[in-house]
Point group: C2
Chain length 230, copies 2
Amino acid sequence: MSQSSGAAPRVRNARGQGTQLREELVRSAAHLLGTLDQPEALSLRQVARAAGVAPASIYDHFPDLGALFENVLELRYAELADLMRAADLATRPLERLVARCRVYIEWADAHPGDYRTLFGGRVPAGVPASVVAHRSGTELLRGLTAALAAATDPDNALSDAVHSRAGLLLWTAMHGLVNARAEHPNLPWPPDDLTMADLLALHTHLPAGQISALLATSPVEAASPSDGMR
Amino acid sequence: MSQSSGAAPRVRNARGQGTQLREELVRSAAHLLGTLDQPEALSLRQVARAAGVAPASIYDHFPDLGALFENVLELRYAELADLMRAADLATRPLERLVARCRVYIEWADAHPGDYRTLFGGRVPAGVPASVVAHRSGTELLRGLTAALAAATDPDNALSDAVHSRAGLLLWTAMHGLVNARAEHPNLPWPPDDLTMADLLALHTHLPAGQISALLATSPVEAASPSDGMR
DNA sequence: TGTACATCAGTGAACGCGCGTTCACTGATGTAC
DNA sequence: TGTACATCAGTGAACGCGCGTTCACTGATGTAC
């Protein structure tokens, strides 16, 4: 809501402070992308309006719309990856797995637009989707697969192929859960903790109660520095 | 198309062509929506071009773009629902569950655009998303939940709440699988049958081998009348 | 039987919109002489 | 110390595009008299 029609004609940044607007553009784009229901509809002109700047000004900092969004997505993906790495601070393998999954799901719930863009192929025109897909998919999946294997097969008795399939299934299950909740909010969704306990019980072959206990003891608190990047 | 034989003099009506274009429009829109990678970007003018008609002509048959798409989606959803109902022809509960899931996944793979529109909230501008969500979500989910309960809890020992949660988890797992495969084709996906056996083994708590056997014996063959509706 | 007319099925041009992008420009500010 | 000039940061107007939608129209074809 900054800058509407006749309001404050934006003060230019001082000489040397050229990168300031660049950061503001990334921040504005990140905010819009994260909150929009249809992230793929985000336009250069919307970003310019949100930043209180002429559309043409964006070209001083980014060659095109795609470059700006790539910047934003890299930022967001790094944020999620950091959070998931932090899950490894827990001591026991099962705790680490639970923490990882919780972080993933909570981040996705808190950043629907970002999630759809990073993992759902809902990319604004001009952004090469392959870039997004590559970054987001593989690394995260590898970490999750390893965490699941560590928690369910401590002696490493099963083959890599089995681990890999189990990891994929766990990830797709979380992906589906997150997507379905966002897209069909009217369905009778149980409380988050219950759903996560059920989900992880299935994939670890452990009783749901054991997972619930871990969920209750490790708060991690809502993963949303949101539009930080100060 | 039909319309009484040689009865009463009545209204002027029918110079033959009337409803023909209407059907052709629905057919063209269905084809585009089903095959497009970004179904939400489908426009009225694209449909008009595909049908070889002036954009304005569409308004003779539909009040606006949304009405046309609603028509298409209803058609597609009915197609999927029919296929899933046909799964009940199998004799044993587990067979019915397996058939249902197989139909769902194969239909989704074969109709990515339709799937995204019906279940993924990727709806062209002007279509009320709520209509889509309502129709597609609930009925299908209810059937799936019942099939899962019948296969895993024949004596009905567990509560409805437990059944409902299990059904939701199974559906979201399939939803995630289908979405993830479509959006990240570069990942190392195992063969379809293997994935489905793993998935259903998890959700039924049965050995994967038992599911595989069922998958091998009940062909059902690829669910794609596609653009039929002759 | 001929002919005026109503209806049908669809067209073509135009509207205003938001979009990405280009381009010549405008002021303010630092720097060289 | 003053002043000409280069640079910086960003603007405003315009371009052509595809879009949804409106509107007056155009032929063909059936029907009434």
